[in-house]
Amino acid sequence: MSSSVETALLDAEDARGPRRQHPARAALRRLLRHKLFLSGLVLFGIILIAGLAAPWITTADPTRLSLRNKFLPPGENFVFGTDNLGRSLWSRVVWGAQLSVIIGVSVVALNAVFGTLFGAIAGYFRRLDNAMMRVNDALMAFPAILLAIGITAVLGPSTVNVILALAIVYIPRTARIVRASVLVVREMEYVQAAVAAGAGHWRILFRHILPNAMAPLIVQLSFLFAYAVLSEATLSFLGLGAVPPTPTWGNIMAEGRQYMREAPWIITIPGVALMITVMGLNLLGDGLRDVLDPRLRIQQ
């Protein structure tokens, strides 16, 4: 791909240039030249904007029944058609996008806070490492969806419980990545310099180590967003997520299953929306990894 040549040239330019660019700005510049990253940004952007703008771009209540209008195919009055109860599929899918975004953001935020905290502590304080990683290994031994199902079984089906379940499932995985990165950074010379200068543990950890150990975490979080959206759709498809008539993509598809002969659009439209989201985030993640974490780059 020519982009690797471009990045190499850019790097050289950065190094020679009269003022050295801030690394974050340099990374941003390279990202904006990464074609796959940009296409991911566009795909995910569509869903994100639709979700955020849901109250303004939908007119029909996503849960209002209108049996007169049931099974209308996508067309003039209803862009995406209607379902078995005459509800506007456009409204339901757009509000479903909002719910997916909320779930993704919440799971990512919980992971960013607690995954980082646990990973940083395990990686920095060697005494705690072994015990913490054992628990981590045990939690990671459960297949993700199965553990999420077990947790929602215990807590009961609801949006908040799905977020909690997915956070519990993925935090150990995030912690592991942060720990690995902290283990590398803590051996750097500037960390020794900070120790020599008499900085305290927490200052070293949060001011010197973590900011330099962030790249793998950022990459992980973009993939995590995709897993969270996908897992939520799976759980609600199985009837273990938000309770119907809440419009989630999984719920819509589960209801559409009975009518796939006469109204296949009930399944395909939310399915495609889900696919666009996951693919967009995967492309974003690949792009971020290429730029931020070149060691893991899929070889060009």
């Binding site: 045990a138 553990l147 077990g150 079984a153 215990v154 009961g156 796939m260 399944i267 995967n282 899929i298």
Partner: protein, 314 residues
């Protein structure tokens, strides 16, 4: 070699202990009264009390924990409320179905994942590479139940070639098994196929740049030999480690696929157990499946050590 195996098995003990502890703890977090939840809304106080006694929930938590481990050591995981049989018995009925489906999906994954990864690496930056990578990006992005639904709409509803669901055991009718298992296996394999293709490609590209591959080419070996004997053989070693992850994803995916295609395996069992508040079954299935995966991963680690002497002698 024995030391490698022994070390692998020993490392399983703390993980399995913690996994069983977590599973036990999980079911104690049920808000409110689990016995009442199991009994349902119409239950009388006596019925609830009977269930509580039956599950041992009237005992102090420590007694419950000891009983749990005493049961585990005897192979007693409790009784499924829904099925009226022991959890282990139900699992033995259901697990072979899931394993057969997973094995089918694994075969598809390995053949197509490896093949497209290798081809993409050998034809790097050509349309073959781009098509293979596009395909694997689709693979990791299309939810397996969505692909399953699309296949049902196309092959069952419109073309009428394959049944929409159900299951025929292989031993009873191999052709029937193939007809009922092919769509589930493909939808189950897709994600892993994409992952494997991506990993195979990047590993192959790395190996193809090694000095020993250049040496092999320089001494005039045919390209086939270079690729198969020098590159692929070495690339497969790191790829083995992914197999553990793939099997774990297969089992996760089976939960959805089996429910979608009405296949009476472990996945469908777990979903219906959760929906019917059959807590002993949920607990047992979660533990057994996870224990199985832990053992698979140890097997993978052992294979890895056996394949790669560098790991063994560390």
């Amino acid at each position: 070699m024995l030391r490698v195996i022994a070390r692998g098995l020993l490392s399983a003990i703390p993980v399995l202990f913690l996994v069983s502890l977590i599973t036990f703890g999980l079911m104690r977090f049920i808000p409110g009264d689990p016995s009442a939840a199991i009994a349902g809304l119409a239950a009388t106080a006596q019925q609830i009390e009977a269930i509580r006694k039956d599950l041992g929930l009237d005992q102090p938590i420590l007694t419950q924990l000891l009983r749990w481990y005493a049961g585990l050591l005897r192979g007693d995981l409790g009784r499924s409320i829904l099925m009226g049989k022991s959890v282990l018995e139900v699992t033995f009925e259901r697990l072979p179905i899931t394993l057969a489906l997973s094995a089918y999906a694994l075969a598809i994954t390995l053949v197509f994942g490896l093949l497209s990864g290798i081809l993409a690496a050998l034809r790097q930056n050509t349309w073959v590479d781009q098509a293979a990578m596009m395909f694997s990006m689709l693979g990791i992005s299309v939810p397996n139940f969505f692909l399953g639904l699309l296949m049902i709409i196309l092959f069952s509803v419109h073309l009428g070639w394959l049944p929409t669901g159900g299951y025929i055991p292989f031993t009873q009718d191999p052709w029937g098994w193939l007809r009922t298992s092919t769509m589930p296996a493909i939808s189950l394999a897709l994600l892993q196929m994409g992952l494997l293709a991506r990993i195979t490609r990047s590993t192959m590209l790395e190996v193809l740049r090694q000095d020993y591959v250049r040496t092999a080419r320089a001494k005039g070996l045919p390209e086939r030999t270079v690729v198969m004997k020098h590159a692929l053989a070495n690339a497969l070693i790191p790829i083995t480690t992914v197999v553990g992850i793939i099997v774990s994803l297969l089992v996760s995916g089976a939960v959805v696929t089996e429910t979608l295609f009405s296949i009476p395996g472990m996945g469908q069992l777990l979903t219906s157990a959760v929906l019917n508040r059959d807590y002993p079954m949920v607990q047992g299935a979660l533990l057994l499946v996870t224990a199985f995966l832990v053992m698979i991963n140890i097997l993978v680690d052992i294979c890895y050590a056996l394949l790669d002497p560098r790991v063994r002698y560390e």
